[in-house]
Symmetry: C2
Subunit: 176 residues, 2 copies
């Protein structure tokens, strides 16, 4: 399973590609940050995010895109830009027919460190260990994107079973 993780943001949008299956060593295929100029207007920043994400999709052909679920209880000023950058990432994936999964920050932290209250350093350390890297990816947004991809690889089987159970129960015939 090849997953592009996206830690959405307008100034720095973390992106990371991980390949693997649960229970086996994981492989990092790429990591980076899509940046947009702080002094550009919002519409042009969104176009720059789109171009960046498209480049990553073109290069790595992920089977899934995992995006951090944005909550509005955070800093009110930055959360709108984060929500809008995440919309662009979801749009890019969905119009190519790539399934999009949303994971909360605490789900991601719990997946890679065992606790939903881990700090940035802990997440970076575990990403480094799990992907057998020489050093934690910088900036933190890049490490968070890799953590999202890892989280999706490990959580996806359970999520799919849950979706199948819900589909059977509601008799809507939906399945993952």
């Amino acid at each position: 399973m090849r997953v592009l993780g996206v830690d959405p943001g307008l100034t720095r949008c973390g992106v990371g590609v991980v390949e693997g299956v649960p229970g086996r060593p994981l492989t990092m295929l790429g990591v980076g940050v899509v940046r947009t100029p702080v002094d550009a207007d919002l519409a042009h920043r969104l176009v720059a995010v789109e171009q960046g994400i498209e480049g990553w999709l073109d290069e790595h052909h992920p089977e899934y895109v995992a995006v951090e679920r944005v909550f509005s209880q955070h800093n009110v000023r930055t959360v709108m830009g984060t929500a809008q950058a995440s919309a662009v990432a979801m749009l890019c994936a969905a119009r190519r027919g790539i399934p999009v999964a949303l994971h909360t920050p605490s789900e991601v932290k719990a997946a890679v460190t065992g606790t939903g209250r881990a700090d940035k350093a802990q997440v970076g350390a575990m990403v480094t260990r799990l992907l057998r890297l020489d050093a934690p990816p910088r900036p933190a947004d890049a490490a968070d994107a890799l953590a999202l991809a890892i989280c999706h690889i490990w959580r996806a089987p359970a999520q799919n079973r849950l979706q199948q159970a819900v589909a059977l129960h509601t008799s809507k015939g939906r399945s993952a």
Copy 2:
């Protein structure tokens, strides 16, 4: 000046095209609503909004797109979807090179009714009068989109002069 107004939303995204210049009677060229299914997942709803907006841009070739500026102090649940739908509208316009303008709800109300605290019915009544329609456009999102377009036509000259003054003052050479 031909303006596409967009009242962003995931369930109902109001769209309206108005042509005119300040001080002359305005003409409505089209009005409608882009709808997306409430039970679809977020990524696919954003794709549906994109397809809808693209259709309006293809049909009417506006010179400007005016989008309601989203504030996060509103209902926390709906504001994220509104912010994400507005991101898609801005993206569609900007990647075609169409300038995007953001206007706040109170700027729009003040422009068409004379008061920033007007209610939906007042805005609908003034839009009906200014565009010489037989009845207020339904739903209210469609009327709001037309009001945004009217607001932009009337405010744009002042905004442009202001931007030019700022550009001169800061010696950055930016101009509208």
